[in-house]
């Protein structure tokens, strides 16, 4: 096991940040923690990176205990905190050199590992880190976390605040890193990114809802989902919430995802109900469940 948590709990004063969390991450796996803000993702990261001591339970990273062997862990992991945490007044190159030096290595030694990423920011290597765009900052932070060839990489919301193109590139990089036998634990609030992980854990309010591959989680979804569209989105949701057979409804892009209580759903019945409410351009069709639907269902 590369990462293993068993019955981890942690509270801050009165708030229970995480409760009874257990999961394992296999070597070379890309494992995602999926949950909204405040779900406890950062607390899990901080416990695993030895920054916090759990109240209960035990955890190991690369075979080392997070409390007893914290020094060994600090030598062998890479950590990218949720907040941009590089030196803004140092240039790209100076930041990278600094992190290489404190880990007792050089940029040249592990250049092959960061090459794919670094070539993208190399044109700006003399620019101060504080003056980089959001996506560039994250790429630099990833380089800095990787420069000492860590066995396990912890990425806490690496794509928050990053544009869609850079997000996509970032995930492609993670996929490539995975091939170099680095175990990656990544957290994200974006459900679409969850599908890119090998396995994911859905977290809410400090508890794990489900752990499985993204496909399995979607397949377990018990109901048929309908894409419903109409001329007025706000009114559509309000009207649907008044429908007697409603099971769940929430907005999804230009449509709403609707599930019905009944086993045999009647398209025409819902349509006439909506028309009576004065909605036009009504459009109803079944669609496939995604991680977000599964999460909403589990979080109910």
């Amino acid at each position: 096991m590369s990462i293993s948590l068993s019955h981890i709990s942690k509270s801050y004063k009165k708030v229970k940040a995480v409760q009874d969390i257990s999961f394992n991450v296999n070597p070379g796996e890309l494992f995602g923690l999926i949950g909204s803000d405040g779900a406890g993702k950062t607390t899990i990261f901080r416990i695993l990176t030895t920054l916090l001591i759990p109240d209960e339970g035990t955890a190991t990273v690369a075979g080392f205990d997070v409390v007893k062997d914290y020094k060994a862990i600090r030598k062998s992991v890479g950590y990218m905190p949720g907040r941009f945490s590089l030196y803004q007044d140092l240039t790209v190159e100076e930041n990278l050199t600094f992190f290489a030096t404190i880990f007792g290595t050089t940029i040249e030694e592990n250049y092959d590992l960061i090459e794919d990423i670094y070539v993208q920011i190399e044109p700006f290597k003399n620019r101060r880190a504080g003056k980089l765009s959001g996506g560039m900052k994250q790429k630099l932070a990833l380089c800095c976390a990787l420069i000492h060839k860590p066995k396990v990489l912890f990425l806490d919301e690496p794509t928050t605040g990053v544009d869609p193109v850079s997000r996509k590139e970032f995930w492609e990089m993670l996929k490539r890193l995975q091939k170099k036998e680095i175990t990656i634990l990544v957290s994200t609030p974006y459900m679409d990114e969850a599908a890119l992980c090998d396995r994911i854990a859905l977290i809410q309010d400090g508890k794990i809802l489900e752990i499985d591959t993204p496909e399995a989680i979607v397949n377990k979804f018990p109901k048929t989902i309908y894409n419903v569209g109409a001329n007025n989105m706000y009114k559509l949701i309000q009207t649907l919430q008044g429908y007697e057979h409603l099971y769940s409804v929430f907005p999804f892009g230009e449509f709403v995802h609707y599930t019905d209580k009944r086993d045999s759903f009647e398209n025409a019945d819902l349509k006439s109900y909506l028309e009576k409410a004065g909605l036009t351009d009504i459009h109803i069709e079944p669609t496939l469940a995604n991680i977000e639907d599964a999460f909403m269902e589990l979080a109910r």
Binding site: R46, T49, T50, L51, L52, I53, Y70, K71, R74, K75, V77, Y79, P81, R83, F84, S85, L86, Y87, Q88, D89, L90, E94, T97, F98, F99, T101, I102, F103, G104, C144
Partner: protein, 368 residues
């Protein structure tokens, strides 16, 4: 060791790229020493006074000439009537008025006694006091020169001698104090701010999750400031020697060593502050309130400790700056060696070890 050098290099980047901290580091010492040296002073020089001479005879003229010949006073105005004294003061330029009585010479010869009234503007009591003293001593001087050859039955002539600072230059008093304040401020405030900045920006989190040991981080933070503080101390000493003609009687080497000791004491305090403060602002407030005020008020820099109430005197013992000021005053002005200041030096060393021990104990290897 390579890690350590890398860390120190990074610290220098931080310092030299932040204009504000650069200004505090190098602008402030020079500004402060010049301010205290030139502007804030108890000496009087070229004070404007006015004279109301009711008698206008040879003696009064002689006295007036003597006073205006001294570099301390400039006679700005001759007043004709008593009523004009008030107006002269109210205009604000005149700090004192000399009022000679009528028939000054005659009275002096006939009755062996004549009166001069010295009226001073006491809105600034210190200056008023000094003016009175200076005029008195000029008058006494004049009297003695007149009485030469006449034998009096009893006469007590006090002969005062001011040692170590014969001209009573206040800059001699301020230099050790300002040097103390600056070393304290640069060392304690700047280190505590630079450590808390890492906490605030989240970089401390990454430093903790790295093979760097806590003491390496701390020493790495401290070394650049030792270096810069020593430069500062040297600048202050050079300024006071060359601009204020302050003699350094004792050994410069000993002065340097004691300064380094005090710098380390202040740095240890700075580290201690950074273990308590979570934000840069908190660190700055604690440094200013917790260090600057006691240094200014209780170290004996401005107010003599011996005239403080007993509880404050006791508190002053725990202020490192007090001991450092005693040491550097002794070295700079009295020219003594280590044999005379070993006690104070030991106290400073003890305090330093205490602060370092406490900060190592309080330093967090984790986030909480």
């Amino acid at each position: 060791m390579k890690r350590f050098i890398g860390f120190i290099k990074k610290e220098f980047y931080h310092i030299f790229r932040d204009r504000r901290s650069l200004f505090i580091l190098f602008g402030m010492p020079i500004a402060q020493i010049l301010l205290f040296g030139f502007a804030i002073t108890n000496e009087i020089n070229n004070v404007d006074i006015a004279v109301l001479d009711h008698s206008k005879d040879a003696t009064t003229e002689e006295i007036i000439n003597k006073i205006s010949a001294s570099k301390y006073f400039t006679i700005k105005q001759m007043i004709a009537r008593e009523a004009d004294i008030e107006t002269a003061f109210k205009k604000g330029k005149i700090k004192a008025v000399l009022n000679f009585e009528k028939d000054f010479s005659k009275n002096l010869i006939k009755e062996q006694k004549a009166t001069i009234q010295i009226i001073t503007d006491a809105t600034d009591p210190n200056t008023a006091n000094s003016i009175t003293n200076y005029i008195n001593s000029i008058l006494q001087n004049y009297q003695q020169s007149k009485n030469k050859g006449i034998v009096m039955e009893y006469q007590i002539v006090p002969q005062t001698r001011m040692v170590y600072n014969p001209e009573l230059k206040s800059v001699f008093m301020f230099v050790p104090g300002v040097m103390t304040i600056i070393l304290m401020l640069v060392s304690a405030m700047m280190t505590s701010i630079s450590i808390t900045r890492e906490k605030e920006l989240g970089t401390m989190e990454i430093l903790l999750v790295s093979p760097l040991k806590p003491f390496q981080v701390i020493i790495g933070k401290v070394v650049p400031y030792i270096f810069l503080s020593v430069i500062n101390a040297a600048v202050i000493v050079l300024l006071s020697i060359f601009i204020f003609k302050m003699p350094v009687q004792g050994s410069l080497f000993l002065l340097g060593l004691e300064s380094v000791l005090f710098i380390i004491t202040s740095l240890a305090l700075g580290i201690l502050i950074s273990t308590i403060a979570e934000t840069q602002q908190a660190a700055m407030m604690i440094s200013l309130m917790g260090l600057m005020l006691p240094v200014i008020l209780l170290s004996g820099f401005i107010f003599p400790i011996s005239s403080m109430p007993a509880p404050l005197q006791i508190i002053s013992h725990i202020i490192p700056a007090k001991w450092f000021i005693i040491i550097i005053k002794a070295i700079m002005l009295k020219g003594v060696g280590l044999a005379f200041v070993w006690k104070e030096t030991l106290i400073l060393i003890g305090m330093t070890l205490f602060f370092i021990g406490l900060s190592i104990k309080k330093y967090k290897i984790r986030l909480e």
